[in-house]
């Protein structure tokens, strides 16, 4: 590994993308993710890549669509309102079975909302990042080091399953600096079109055309396409879930939280443990596929679960579904850009434990 350096989450992510073989970046500035563009505008030309500031978010995602079709690793990045603009293009990319990486450094919403950290785009990214029957891979880093690590994973899995992958971060993770190191010996696989037989790279009269398309006017043909895609999703669900369990082994109450909120949940759990409350944290790293097996394992001895989010309660739905409502699941959250404090989370934990007595 390289020497530990302090980097902003946005910068670490951008550097990791280059190291993962990302050759093209198309973006449009928006707080709090603009450092990704700024960093790549300097670095990309030095590694023979393309940095392009598009005229809009819609243009940027369509450039990604075209680039991905040629088999090149590519990425775009935005924050909540900008991601909404990109959703049409993301649906097309999913419909054409193309790999790409999309970054969402979330801010408060709806509408233009605010620029402070938020997690209010969970439903959008896990349920419907565009129209039609499809999923995207979703990774939720919780540290600056993970901002770097998950982007590598995102490129690999996007290529492997031929589907878009999203890094769902937030303003806190994007703006903060923490120590980060990069794997100097990492092998970059699948970074060019040579092992992507489907890529539109020019047939040279030597093979059949590769066609990149999401339009299928025959219903039966479209159904077959979608079904085949969902069979692939089943493999993703079976093999690609990632989660971290923190002190859940003996926990009476498990706090489920992702991204920067998981950091706060861990602090709250430490406070709870000092008061003799057996609490733990379940932190999904993949939000789609949701780590169903892992959360059930984490909650095997728990009497209650608490979901904490920077929203009015979105992931709480997945926690209930994953646990099949086997134990009561409650919710605590702040929204609009307000960051919940560990003391507030602790109060909620105590309230829930107290209810048992």
């Amino acid at each position: 590994m390289s020497e530990l350096t302090l980097m902003k989450g946005n910068e670490a992510l951008a550097e990791a993308a280059i190291r993962a073989g990302c050759k093209c970046f198309f973006g449009y500035p928006i707080t709090p993710q603009t450092e990704i563009s700024a960093y790549l505008s300097k670095r990309m030309p030095k590694v023979g890549g393309v940095f392009l500031q598009a005229e809009s978010e819609v243009a940027a995602i369509n450039m990604v669509y075209g680039c991905a079709g040629s088999g090149i690793r590519c990425m775009t990045s935005s924050s909540s309102p900008g991601i909404s603009l990109k959703t049409e293009g993301i649906s097309y990319i999913a419909g054409a079975d193309l790999p790409c990486v999309i970054i969402n450094v979330q801010r408060g919403g709806p509408g233009l909302g605010g620029i402070q950290p938020s997690q209010a785009d969970y439903w959008q990214v896990t349920r419907a990042l565009g129209h039609g029957d499809f999923h995207v891979l979703v990774f939720a880093p919780s540290t600056v080091q993970e901002m770097a690590d998950t982007v590598t994973k995102a490129f690999d899995l996007a290529d492997k399953y031929r589907m878009p992958a999203v890094i769902l971060a937030d303003g806190l993770l994007g703006q903060m600096m923490e120590p980060v190191a990069f794997d100097e010996n990492a092998e970059i696989k699948l970074s060019d079109a040579s092992n992507k037989p489907w890529a539109a790279t020019g047939h040279g009269n030597k093979r059949k055309h590769n066609i990149i398309n999401s339009l299928y006017l025959q219903a039966a043909e479209l159904e077959e396409k979608v079904r085949a895609r969902f069979e692939r999703y089943e493999q993703v669900k079976a093999n690609e879930t990632m989660a971290e369990c923190y002190k859940t082994e003996d926990a009476d109450i498990v706090v489920a939280a992702y991204g920067s909120t998981a950091r706060l949940a861990k602090s709250a759990v430490e406070l709870a443990r000092k008061e003799g409350i057996k609490a733990g944290v379940f932190r999904p790293i993949t939000l789609w596929p949701y780590p169903v097996k892992e959360i059930n394992e984490a909650c095997k001895n728990a009497k209650k679960a608490l979901t904490v989010e920077m929203s009015m309660g979105q992931m709480v739905d997945d926690v209930k579904l994953a646990l099949n409502c086997r134990i009561p699941v409650e919710f605590f959250g702040r929204t609009g850009g307000v960051i919940p404090g560990p003391a507030e989370i602790l109060n909620k934990i105590k309230e829930m434990i107290g209810g048992d007595k």
Binding site: L6, M177, E178, L264
Partner: protein, 176 residues
């Protein structure tokens, strides 16, 4: 042990820079560190602040609301944050720029005429580093070797000629 630090002043005073310096002092002192700038409406209004956490344990929230150590370089920041300092904590004040005197008995305040000292010592624009020097001295958070390594790291290569000036500024602060 955790040391939550809040640094505040106007944009251009080098608040984020000394925040980075602090974070590297922590990193090279083998601690866990985080650094978080204000990027919201306050920054757009000209004032700027920066949260730095230095800890033996992994850091939960990087946002400092109740600092152990506060460093302030303008009156609006002083007025806004002086009440939030933890009981038993410290406040470092550029007394050239801030006339106020703190009436809290439960915290220690250090008044350093950092801007005047910078001007007198031909260290224009380095009042921030002088004030940081005072914080380093009072909190005992770093030794000389770590300080030198840090300054060499955070001063960008294009401004390498300012390494000595930064070290000098820190020394002046530490001797106050």
């Amino acid at each position: 042990m955790t040391n939550d630090i809040l640094l505040a002043g106007f944009g251009g005073q080098g608040i984020l820079f000394i925040g980075k310096m602090l974070a590297y002092l922590g990193l090279y002192g083998e601690k866990q560190v985080s650094w978080l700038p204000s990027y919201g409406p306050e920054m757009r209004g000209g004032t700027c602040n920066c949260s730095v956490c230095v800890s033996d344990d992994p850091i939960g929230s990087p946002l400092v609301l109740e600092p152990d150590n506060l460093l302030v370089m303008n009156t609006p920041s002083y007025d806004k944050f002086i009440g939030s300092v933890k009981s038993g904590g410290n406040c470092f004040i550029d007394s050239t720029l801030i006339e106020a005197v703190c009436d809290r008995a439960d915290i220690s305040c250090f008044y350093v005429p950092a801007t005047r000292l910078a001007n007198e010592n031909d260290l224009h624009g380095m009042a921030n580093v002088i004030l940081l020097g005072k914080m380093i001295k009072e909190t005992g958070m770093a030794d000389e070797a770590v300080i030198e390594k840090t300054v060499k790291k955070v001063v960008p290569p294009k401004k390498a000629h300012l390494i000595d000036a930064n070290l000098k500024a820190l020394k002046i602060g530490m001797s106050q």
